[in-house]
């Protein structure tokens, strides 16, 4: 196997670990703000690593550019959605969790 294939696999696995962490956070964290915090990290960094890994496969520059564009769009969308959910939660009077 070529070196680039190993790097690609390593990046994708690293990205997946962020998704696993994000999912764990969603299930385990105590309130909506904490869960959002965990989820956006997974989306942003996890997908970024997966896109980086996939770009190293023998795709063309054009497909790599499209993948990166998808990631940038997701950054924008997930940031906005995270903000909107947190804002609505705050507006609805959901208090942030404090360590008991």
């Amino acid at each position: 196997l070529a070196l680039s294939a190993w790097i690609c696999a390593a990046l994708v696995v690293a990205g997946l670990s962020f998704f696993l962490g994000g999912t764990l956070g969603l299930l385990r964290f105590p309130d909506v703000y904490n869960r959002l915090h965990a989820l956006t990290k997974a989306d942003n960094v996890g997908l970024g690593l997966i896109v980086a890994g996939l770009s190293l496969q023998d795709f063309s520059i054009l497909s790599a550019a499209k993948l990166i564009l998808v990631w940038l769009l997701l950054l924008l969308a997930s940031t906005t959605v995270c903000h909107l959910i947190a804002r609505t939660a705050l507006h609805d009077g959901i208090a942030a969790w404090r360590k008991p």
Binding site: L73, A77, L84, R87
Partner: protein, 316 residues
């Protein structure tokens, strides 16, 4: 290595199929509306992955954009409208009819599974016939050739269904809904400012792609509709300004133009809705462009639910 890869793919497919069925079961069993909507969106996304695994990229794109995206947004919107209303629970006396219904579905399922199991593994289909006619169809993407040439009446009727759905929604006289309980903030405004032009670009790209690779009017229309929904959410004046006759024109344009171009084929010796050789490519692209706009307008109109009358009544 090859063996391990194919084993991995099979495992993935089996897990995917089981998850789909599981989601469908939970979705049907859940009592909470919001849970059901979220599950529906997730189901649509998984369905999209499934179509991708089956190699049907066109359907995967359409499922993600329309099935999960726009329909999910409509459900969420409808739920917001329902929130004030009191819920009436179905009486238990209907349990027997439910049981009969479930039994009927089960029998039907058995028949379908039996028929699939009995069918020969080698599909006879119309694949070769459709591929052999591709050079004269005006496009190089076989899916587009089927949708806009061989079976164009299918697509024309789909557009008609969308149109009828909008008319049906208008006849319900949906009251004016405000989409946000909280005022529109700068982040949503900024994101919309970036996303709307990008949606137009991506919609145009999907439309242009459709003639030779997966993509086309429905996918492009759904992406454009996403931009329209965003404009509604930030209460941009554009949907209001265009809410009267441009809305009607945009809605009707798809069916009208499709029918007119279809009729133009009969001026030659071809049957209705049939395109061949030179001119076919041009006509198909023209239909796709108009259909994209009509689909986008119809989806946004379904999301908003407001009829042109309500805009006129509001105007001084």
């Amino acid at each position: 290595m090859e063996e391990a890869l194919s084993w991995l793919q099979t495992t993935f497919d089996v897990v995917l199929a089981l998850t789909l069925i599981g989601f469908a079961a939970i979705l049907l069993a859940t009592k909470d509306l919001l849970d059901a909507i979220v599950l529906f969106i997730l189901f649509g996304l998984l369905m999209s992955v499934t179509w991708g695994r089956l190699g049907a990229i066109d359907i995967a794109l359409a499922e993600a954009a329309i099935g999960a995206g726009i329909t999910g947004a409509m459900f969420l919107n409808a739920r917001g409208d329902l929130e004030g209303l009191s819920r009436s629970h179905a009486p238990d006396s209907r349990r027997l009819s439910r049981l009969a219904f479930a039994l009927g579905v089960f029998v039907l399922l058995c028949i379908v599974v039996g028929a699939v199991a009995a069918a020969p593994l080698e599909a006879v289909g119309m694949r070769d016939l459709s591929l052999s006619a591709l050079p004269v169809s005006g496009v190089t993407n076989p899916v587009t050739a089927v949708l806009l040439n061989y079976r164009a009446y299918d697509t024309l009727l789909e557009l008609t269904v969308l149109l009828v759905a909008v008319v049906g929604t208008w006849s319900q006289r949906v009251p004016r809904t405000t989409f946000e309980t909280t005022p529109v903030g700068p982040v949503l405004l900024g994101a919309t400012r970036l996303l709307v032009p990008l949606s137009v670009l991506i919609g145009g790209y999907l439309l242009w792609r459709g003639s030779h690779v997966p993509g086309g009017a429905f996918q492009a229309g759904a992406v454009l509709a996403g931009a329209g929904v965003l404009l509604l959410l930030i209460e941009h004046p554009m949907p209001r300004r265009w809410g009267t006759w441009p809305l009607r024109l945009g809605l009707a344009s798809g069916v009208l133009f499709f029918t007119l171009v279809g009729l133009s084929a009969t001026l030659g010796d071809d049957p209705f809705l049939f395109h061949r050789d030179e001119g076919a490519a041009r006509r198909i692209v023209a239909i796709e462009i108009v259909a994209t706009v009509a689909i986008a307008v119809a989806l946004v109109a379904l999301f908003s639910g407001r009829s042109p009358h309500s805009f006129q009544e509001e105007a001084p």
